[in-house]
Amino acid sequence: MEPSYDSAKVAEIHRHLHSHLPSEPALRVKALESLLVEKGLVDPAALDAWIEAYTEEIGPKRGAMVVARAWTDPDFKARLLADAGAAVDEMGFAGQASGHLQAVENTDAVHNLVVCTLCSCYPFAILGMAPPWYKANEYRARAVRDPRGVLAEFGVALEPEIAVRVWDSTAELRYMVVPQRPAGTEGFSVEALAALVTRNAMIGTDRDLAAGGA
């Protein structure tokens, strides 16, 4: 049925749930799965389909293939930077949260970092499930105010002259970072290049990719 769109009403519902649902996450999810299946609100086969999709099919390997192609195909790179949603669709990767995808490029002078301070928006179709730290309070609070401190914790030491650009995903645009191609990879195949691209590099918490892999 239709939502009430009443903030006070859902806040009250949350207070009831806080008081009545099992606190321990595994017990809570087990109780709710039984109830929602019994109620007919979920089909167990659909649950398996959602879980399997992000375990087996959709993950950061897609983003890595996009980056490797951008490194080796200047026309594709131009299309990616102009309209990343269309460019990933070309590769068969269109999906959840890819519709308004933006690709931002690292250079010698620029480092990009992606965050969602208000919830945890993430380009699922291209990078898969977000890592726990991306969804954590610490990252969401600090990435905009102390990006260099956060980067240092990830082992990225930036010279002060390198400008940091932080992209806070406050709308339905989603961001992926195109890291720099490592030196010493001339002649590598697209597949070999893709193997060098880390998920964190595409969020921006990794910068200098290694020609020999991480």
């Binding site: 239709e2 939502p3 009430s4 769109y5 009443d6 903030s7 859902v10 519902i13 949350h14 749930l17 806080h18 009545h20 996450p25 999810v29 109780a31 709710l32 109830l35 929602l36 019994e38 109620k39 979920v42 089909d43 659909a46 649950l47 398996d48 389909a49 959602w50 879980i51 992000y54 375990t55 949603g85 269109a94 999906g95 959840q96 949260a97 890819s98 308004h100 301070t117 208000l118 179709a125 898969g128 890592p131 726990p132 730290w133 954590a136 610490e138 990252y139 969401r140 609070a141 600090r142 905009v144 105010r145 914790e153 400008a163 940091v164 650009r165 932080v166 406050t170 339905e172 964190n200």
Partner: protein
């Protein structure tokens, strides 16, 4: 609304914990909570902005401490109770009322289709854009009640329009069930203008709707 979810720039948080960063789900419960949340929402009339706003209305300690997909699941449940798709009594008792079984949940085929189908939030504009790339803009200095996507750290701030993204559905209206297209801009703010301790030439970019700016 002013809530604990608006975390950007808040201080007192410690190091970023990278545990489980290379697993798609950090536990079986995490995977089940994710799947239950997305499957139960399915094709129902629960708009994304209402989902985000319902999550924002969680008990603040729950928001700050419960696992991420556990919060999605609780939020989905709160939306389902609000819409009358399940009752609070059923949730508390753990027993579904057999007479009110929902007839048509999302099926595995629907999932496979959803996974290949990006949602388009852009709509035809109903007015000319008020700002152009390169313009200086200033954001509203007040937080509004209800759902809005102007983070507190960027209120009353001056920035420069980096890109015009066309007209996108306004989340403030979406969380009230209305579909209102409004011009969306990516705006760059000098980090040192937002946070007094910053000494480097860094830029924070936000995607902000036209009504978030003060008209000159």
């Amino acid at each position: 609304m002013d809530g604990v979810f608006d975390l950007g720039g808040k201080q007192g948080f410690g190091p970023v914990d990278r545990a489980h960063e290379d697993e798609p789900y950090h536990s079986e419960a995490d995977a089940r909570a994710y799947a239950l949340s997305v499957a139960a929402r399915g094709e129902r009339a629960y708009p994304i902005d209402w989902f985000r706003h319902t999550r924002e209305n969680m008990v603040p300690t729950d928001y700050l401490t419960r696992p991420y997909f556990d919060q999605w699941l609780q939020t989905t449940l709160a939306m389902a109770i609000d819409a009358g798709d399940i009752s609070l009594d059923e949730v508390i008792s753990g027993k579904a009322d057999a007479l009110s079984r929902t007839p048509d949940p999302m099926r595995a085929d629907d999932v496979r289709k959803a996974l290949k189908t990006p949602v388009n939030f852009e709509r035809e504009a109903t007015s000319a854009p008020a700002f152009a790339v390169g313009d200086t803009v200033r954001t509203d200095h007040q937080g509004k009640p209800g759902h809005s996507r102007l983070p507190a750290y960027a209120r009353g701030a001056t920035g420069t329009v980096h890109a015009h993204r066309g007209a996108h559905l306004l989340p403030d209206a979406g969380a009230q069930g209305a579909h209102v297209p409004e011009h969306l801009y990516t705006v760059g703010f000098a980090a040192r203008d937002l946070f007094p301790e910053v000494e480097t030439n860094d830029t924070i970019y936000l995607d902000l709707w036209e009504s978030y700016f003060v008209r000159r």
